[in-house]
Amino acid sequence: RPTPRPDVTPLSPGTHLLFAQSGKIEHIPLDGQSMKKSEAKTLLHLPDKVVIAVAYDCVEKMVYWTDITGPSISKASIQGGEPITIIRTDLESPEGIAIDHLGRTMFWTDSMRDHIEVASLDGSQRRVLFDTDLVNPRPIIADPAHGHLYWADWNRDAPKIETSYMDGTNRRALVTDNLGLPNGLTYDPQTSLLCWADAGTRKVECMNPSRSDRRKVMEGIQYPFAVAAYGRNLYYTDWRRDAVIAVDRAVGRETEEYLPQKRSRLYGITTAYAQCPSGQNYCTVN
């Protein structure tokens, strides 16, 4: 029985969640804080790929993703259109990607080469930002307004969350205690909160990176892989539940769950903002 489901749909205006399930990138429109689950659809079918990380460029309205089968890094317009592969060489296991929408660059982690790299959004001007003290780097997040980069490494012997400026200077560890497998990391520009989802401690925690006021949002969660922030909610993908789960950050409680039709692992998740978060490029200020 064929399913008359129009797929590869352009996104409607408004804010959406984008998340990866192997072979596709799905989207869920957000209505305020709640997920419009009945309107969830496949944004992109990539049947021969295993998509791990997703990121969104709010300027050109493009989704970027890493694929570990190529391995490769590609992008496509959320209004529809063919995927464009931008990086296809010297990759082994790209598992995290971040977009600096102001500086027009992207950053990614590679957990086999143990690198963090940077390139322009067309793949040019590629260079290695870090190649030391990395074991299993996975999530990476940019805060373009302040010129900060954040990433986590789930190294079982010494997990950590690190930060640096976006040019690679001023690298330092932000969190090293009481971490397990920090698979997911997100930054909310509105509240300046850095939050992470940890599959080892089974907690979601947040802190203001400049204040080191770490606090627990939720505990006893199952197996988070990635997390995204929007408003007062955090949305994480979970490997045990094969679901996207919404958590109210303020009260530390699960509010909603989305179960895709296909029951398989969900990977990266990101917020596709209707408009770019306000903020000046730190480079134009300096």
Binding site: H45, P47, I68, T69, E95, A199, K262
Partner: protein, 183 residues
Amino acid sequence: NALTGSSGDCRPCPCPERTACAQVPGTGEVVCTNCPHGRRGTRCEICDDGFHGDPSGQSGAARPCRPCDCSGNVDPNAVGVCDHLTGRCLKCLHHTDGDRCQHCQRSYYGNALDTNADKCKSCSCDPRGTAGPLEDCHPATGQCLCLGHVTGRDCSRCAIGYFNLSPGQGCERCNCNPTGSSS
């Protein structure tokens, strides 16, 4: 396309186990959207991340998608741990190696299938007493290849009746006078 109104408009999805499909607008390509567990691909012909096999027999006999078998030597938190077709393990840990992470890496010895953490130990052959490359030892026992009259797993001791282990030379005979020696 059900809009033309003839009996052949709707055709069954070309997907295994009567799972759903969708038609990509523009290209008209039909893709399976809800492949059975452990499978992906346009026609569910590829095994999912964490699985291996060849469910539709694209390169030989059909083999169902099974979970990666890496002898417990890969991290459950890792992605892409085995080749989706051959099942060859790509992220062996604890100094293990092989298609199933089933033996120790070169220059390590032990039993990769043990459950303890230091299942594969470094050969660490003693440079003074080893003949040949220092990173070569017996994969199971760890015995390094020793110079003449040198003994010990790592070739770090002289055999009985020999002394003065010197690099590249091995050990010298003791040359004790039989009259005054107790053994």
